[in-house]
């Protein structure tokens, strides 16, 4: 979160019968209950004044920034390791206590990539269009990392 490590907590749900229940089909009460459950699982960890709640098509997710004490307690390799990947954009940010960087925002016109093995028009992963400001911001990060390794 703006450079601070985060707790990432994600929830997914299945309909009776076992099929994945896409987040657009969650009722407002299920959505609210799910956000509450995410916060319950993260519990006293992190700084609740620095949170972001966002959804993908399958999962609802919470980012909560770690506290300074938690960051100090992380293993050295976490701070020293090279990044392994850059998370793509969310489908929708539902709430956040501080504005995220442009790179954390949804693509304006994502390609809807069907999830492997999934059936149904709502089960997709957003692939960056590469043209909108959030995509350009994510691409710029990847370019900087590639240049740093060269």
């Amino acid at each position: 979160m703006n450079g601070t490590p985060v707790w990432l907590c994600s929830i997914s749900r299945r309909a009776p019968g076992g099929r994945t229940l896409p987040t657009p089909l969650w009722s407002p009460s299920v959505m609210a209950e799910s956000v509450a459950l995410l916060r319950r699982v993260v519990g006293p960890a992190g700084n609740p004044a620095r949170e972001r709640v966002f959804r993908m098509q399958v999962t609802l997710c919470l980012h909560r920034a770690l506290t300074d004490a938690e960051i100090a307690g992380l293993p050295d390799w976490f701070h020293e390791a090279d990044p392994t990947d850059l998370a793509g954009g969310p489908v929708e940010i539902l709430e956040e206590t501080e504005p995220g960087a442009e790179s954390t925002k949804p693509c304006h016109d994502p390609e809807r990539v069907p999830l492997p093995g999934a059936r149904g028009p709502l089960l997709w992963f957003p692939a960056d269009c590469g043209r909108c400001p959030p995509c350009e911001a994510r691409a710029a990060i990847m370019d900087r990392r590639r240049d740093a390794r060269a």
Partner: protein, 45 residues
């Protein structure tokens, strides 16, 4: 404390000791819950 809260406390402690480095894949360990609800927790950058 409910079983979920106890389980979550253990997962939080484990996640701090073994954070998932800067990855966006669905994370482990998972907290499987009853009723088709699945929760996962990790520490990421």
């Amino acid at each position: 404390m409910s079983r979920l809260d106890t389980l979550a406390a253990g997962v939080r402690a484990g996640a701090l000791a073994n954070p998932l480095t800067k990855a966006h894949a669905p994370v482990l360990p998972s907290l499987g819950l009853a009723g088709g609800v699945y929760v996962a927790l990790s520490v990421n950058l």
